[in-house]
Symmetry: C2
Subunit: 513 residues, 2 copies
C-alpha cells in the first residue's frame, strides 16, 4: 500500500503538474503541442554565447572521436549542455547537426558513377554458376556496400552512441520533441531528413521485443503513479479517489517500459472490465460500485496516453493494445469483446467549418448540410429566438456558445441529436486526408485493425468532451479474428470497416455515392 | 540441487554428445568446422523433389505477402521444411535466396542517374537559410531516401520477419551456419553478400542491451547444464565431478542469454578465482582444494565457448567479458587482476611450417630459426640418434611425433623449452594477417583490449594442448584502466601491447627491427 509520503507527493503532483506541461502528449488525439515545448530551459539571456560553442564542440567530439572515454564525456557534456540552451540556440545546434553532419554527397556520387560504369550482367546468365558472372557481381556488391555506408549521415553515429549511453535514449526522445516542434513552424528539408533518420532509429530501438509490459497497480511506487497522474491526457485524473478507482477492481492500467528509461512508461493504457460496451465515460470513470470481475465480458480501452512527445510516429500503441488483449484474454477467458470508448477530437472543428462554408457559399452551390426535418426541429427548438435565421446558423451558434448552454435544454439537445450524430458518422467514415481517416484517433485505431462500432450521444459531458465533439464518443471494436485483415484493407485501400448499426446513421450519405 | 534424473541426463550427454557435433564452435579458437555442418538432415535420397519446391514456395510467400496469417504459416513451413532438405538442396535454396531476392539493380541505377542529374549546391550557400537551397536539398533527400530503400535486398524482409517469429532467430543462426559452411568451400559473391547482410542484422538484434547475463550454477536445470557440457569447447568436461567443480567454490560460469532462444546460452565463460595468475590449466581444473573466495585476488578466464556457429563474427565475447568483469568487481572488491589462461591454437602449425621452410630453403637465404646454443642443446639432448642432422630437423621430428614422446624425456623438454618459448613470443607478437594477430585467440583478446602477459611452459599437457602449442599457454591481461586505449591502438594501428616479462622472450626478434 502507498504510504503517507506517497499520498502527499501525489496530491502535490495534482496541484503542480510536471513541467514542462507540454511534455504531455495524447497519442490518440495527436494533439498539436501548445508552443512552448522548447522552453523548459532557463532564461536564455542569462547564458553567454560560450555555452553554445561548448555544447557544439562536445557534440562534435561525441561523433568524431573513437576513444570511448572521450566519447562518454562528450556525450554527457552535450546532453547536459543542450538542456541549458535557449530555444533559439537549440534550433541553431539542431540545424548545424542536420547540415554539417549530413552525408558526404561528393563521395556518394563518386560511388554512383563507379556503379553506373559497370555493365549490368545479362539476365540469362543468372541461373548458371558462371564464374565471370560472379566476378562482375562481386564488384557490384562491393560498391553497393560502400554506397550504403556512404548514404548514412554522420549524425547517425551520434544517435547510435547516445542510444547505448546512460540516459541517452531519453535524451534522443527529448531532442526529437524539439525537432518536431521546430518543424511545425518551418519546413526545413535537412532537419526533416534528420528527423526521419532519428525516427527510423527509434522505431528499431523501441521494437516491442525491447519493451516490457507492466500491470500498474496501487502497489507501485508513488513516483510512478504521480507520472500516470501527470501524463494522463484523455480523461484527466482529478483526485486520489479517481486514481485509486482506475487501478482498482474491474479496472486495469498497463504500461510499456523500456529498460533504459526507468520509472515511467513510454505509453500506458487504461482498461475497464464491464458487462456491456460502455456508452458513456460516466459509467467508466464514476459509476459505483463496479461489477465483480468474473461477470465481465467486455474489456473497454478508455484511455491511452503517450508520455514522450519525441516518440510521435513510433506506433507503440498498436503493440501495447495487442499485448494487453493477449494478457486480458489469458487472465479472463470470459472476456470476449475488446472495444474502446474514444473521443472524436476533430469532429466539432470540422463541423463548424462545414457549417460556416455552407452559410457563406452562394445559394446555387449551397450544400444541404441539414435535412429538412432537422432544419425544422432546430428552428422549433430555438423558439424563433435570435439564435439564427436558419438551421445551420442556429447549430453554429449553439456549438460555439462559450459554456455549451444548449446542454441544459432538453429541447435543444434533442433537436441537435439527429444531425449531430448523422454528420459525425459521415465525418468518421467519409472524411479523409491522404487516404486516411481525418480524425486522428479514428486513424490510430483503424490502422491498428479496429472497426467503427457505435456512436454514443452525450457520452462525455465534460468541457473537453463538448468542445471536441459536442459530447459524442465512439466505440472502436477490435474483433480478434480479423484484426490483421481489417488493418491491411484500411492501410492498402483506405477501406473503413463499420458496424451496420453505425452505417445506418449515414445511410443518406452512403446513398449519395 | 539437481535430482537423480538430472544426473542421469548429464551422464547420457557425456556418452552421446548433442548432435550435430559440428554445432560446437569454440569462439576463442575460431576452429574450422569439421565438414558435416549441413548434414543434420535425414537421408536426402528419401525425399522427393516436391519437398524442395514446397520449401522454396514457402520462402517466397514469407517475403512477398503482407497478410500476417499467411506470413506466419509460410515462415513455419519454410523453417521446418528447410531442416528436412539435403545439404545440396539447402545450398540450392540459399543460392536462390541470394540471387533471386537481391536488390533491383535497374531501379537502383535509375535513382543514381536522377541523383547525378541534380546540381550539387555550392558550399558558400550552406550556412544561409536560403530557400532555393532548401528546395534543391529536398530533392537530394528524397532520392537518397529512396536509394537507401532500393539498396536493401528483398531477402532482408525474410530476415526481419524471421527475427520476430517464434524460433526465427535461432533458425537464422542455424541458416547462417550453413551459409558459412558453404563459403568455406566455394566463394560465391552473392552468397557472401547475403551473409554480410545477415551478419549485420544479427549484430543489431543481439546487441548487449538485448542479452541477459546469468550466473550458471549447480542449481540450474539439468537441461541447461547438459548444454554446458556439450558446448564446452576449450577444456572438455570429462565427468560430473569436473562439471560440479567448475560451478563450485572459487569458480564461476556466466552465460549470455537471448529471450528468443531459451534454455541455452549463446556464449558462456568459465572463471577461476585464484591467489595468483594461473600458470597451468592443471591448477584451474584439477588442483584441490580451491582457495576460499575471500583470499582471491585474481579472476582467471580459462574458457569461453560460443554455442552458435551461425553467430561467428558477432563479437558477443567482448561484451560478455566486460559484463563479467563488472559483476566480479562488484561482488568481490578484493579481486584486482583480470586475466585469461588461454590456448595458442595456431602456434605448433605455424612453427612446423617455419621449420619446414627453413630446412628446405637454399643455404644462402636460410633463415636462422634457432640460435647456436639452442641448436647445440637440441643436438645434445637428442644424443646423436636418428632424430635428425640439425636442430630444426630434430625439433620437427619431436613436434610431429604422434604421441608427443618428447614430453617424457626431461632432457628433451629442457632443450625444447628455450627455442619453443622464444618462437612462441615471436608468433604472438609479430605474426600478423591483414594487420591483426595471426593467432585467432590472440586476436580475440587483443581486440577486446587485453595485453599479452606471460607465456607458461608445459601449461597444458593434454593431447589437445600439446598438438596446438606444444603445451604452452598464455595469460592475456585485462587492465581495467586502459582496456579501451589498448583495444583502439590494436584496432587502428595494429599495435600489440605486451608485458616486459613477455618481451624479454623475443628480445632478439625485436632488435632485428
Amino acid at each position: 500500500m502507498m504510504n503517507k509520503k506517497g499520498l502527499a507527493i501525489l496530491m502535490r503532483t495534482k496541484m503542480r503538474p510536471l513541467s514542462p506541461l507540454s511534455s504531455k502528449l495524447n497519442q490518440m488525439q495527436v494533439s498539436q503541442p501548445e508552443g512552448d515545448k522548447v522552453s523548459s530551459s532557463p532564461d536564455a539571456s542569462l547564458l553567454p554565447q560560450r555555452e553554445f560553442t561548448q555544447v557544439r564542440e562536445s557534440m562534435h567530439s561525441a561523433m568524431s572521436t573513437n576513444k570511448t572515454e572521450i566519447v562518454d564525456v562528450a556525450l554527457d557534456d552535450f546532453s547536459e549542455g543542450y538542456f541549458f540552451l535557449s530555444p533559439e540556440n537549440r534550433h541553431k545546434i539542431l540545424l548545424s547537426l542536420a547540415k554539417e553532419y549530413d552525408l558526404n554527397r561528393t563521395q556518394v556520387r563518386e560511388l554512383m558513377k563507379q556503379h553506373l560504369d559497370l555493365q549490368l550482367p545479362s539476365d540469362k546468365a543468372d541461373d548458371s554458376g558462371d564464374h565471370e558472372e560472379e566476378g562482375s557481381l562481386s564488384a557490384f556488391y562491393r560498391i553497393e556496400r560502400n554506397l550504403r555506408q556512404a548514404l548514412k549521415p554522420m549524425y547517425e553515429v551520434l544517435f547510435e552512441r547516445l542510444n547505448t549511453h546512460p540516459g541517452g535514449l531519453k535524451f534522443l526522445s527529448d531532442m526529437r520533441a524539439d525537432i518536431l516542434h521546430i518543424l511545425e513552424d518551418v519546413n526545413i528539408a535537412s532537419l526533416r531528413a534528420l528527423d526521419s533518420h532519428l525516427k527510423e532509429k527509434l522505431i528499431t530501438w523501441l521494437s516491442p521485443a525491447n519493451l516490457e509490459l507492466h500491470n500498474i497497480t496501487w502497489d507501485d511506487p508513488a513516483s510512478l503513479l504521480e507520472k500516470i497522474v501527470a501524463y494522463e491526457a484523455v480523461h484527466p485524473i482529478s483526485n486520489l479517489i479517481d486514481l485509486k478507482r482506475r487501478l482498482g477492481i474491474g479496472r486495469r492500467c498497463f504500461g510499456y517500459f523500456h529498460p533504459a528509461i526507468s520509472g515511467e512508461p513510454l505509453i500506458f493504457i487504461e482498461v475497464a472490465l464491464m458487462k456491456d460496451v460502455a456508452a458513456t465515460i460516466q459509467e467508466v470513470l464514476w459509476d459505483y460500485p463496479p461489477i465483480s470481475e468474473h461477470e465481465a465480458s467486455c474489456a473497454i480501452f478508455y484511455s491511452i496516453s503517450s508520455t514522450q512527445p519525441g516518440l510521435s510516429g513510433v506506433n507503440l500503441g498498436k503493440f501495447l493494445i495487442k499485448r494487453v488483449v493477449d494478457v486480458v484474454k489469458k487472465d479472463m477467458p470470459n472476456v470476449s469483446v475488446f472495444a474502446t470508448l474514444s473521443p472524436i477530437p476533430g469532429y466539432r472543428q470540422w463541423l463548424l467549418s462545414k457549417l460556416a462554408s455552407s452559410e457563406m457559399s452562394g445559394s446555387a452551390f449551397k450544400e444541404n448540410l441539414l435535412r429538412l426535418e432537422e432544419e425544422k426541429a432546430l428552428m422549433d427548438a430555438s423558439g424563433g429566438s435570435d439564435m439564427g435565421s436558419s438551421g445551420t446558423e442556429v447549430m453554429w451558434n449553439l456549438l460555439t456558445s462559450k459554456h455549451h448552454e444548449w446542454t441544459n435544454s432538453p429541447n435543444l439537445v434533442s433537436a441537435l441529436r439527429t444531425p449531430m450524430m448523422r454528420l459525425c458518422g459521415r465525418y468518421l467514415l467519409k472524411e479523409k486526408k491522404r487516404g486516411k481517416a481525418l480524425d486522428s484517433v479514428a486513424n490510430f485505431h483503424l490502422q491498428n485493425g479496429a472497426m467503427i462500432g457505435r456512436l454514443n450521444w452525450m457520452a462525455d459531458r465534460s468541457q473537453k468532451g463538448l468542445a471536441q465533439s459536442g459530447g459524442i464518443m465512439v466505440n472502436y471494436i477490435y474483433r480478434l479474428d480479423n484484426i490483421e485483415d481489417t488493418a491491411q484493407s484500411y492501410l492498402n485501400e483506405g477501406h473503413i470497416e463499420a458496424s451496420s448499426d453505425f452505417r445506418s446513421y449515414i445511410e443518406d450519405e452512403l446513398e449519395k455515392e
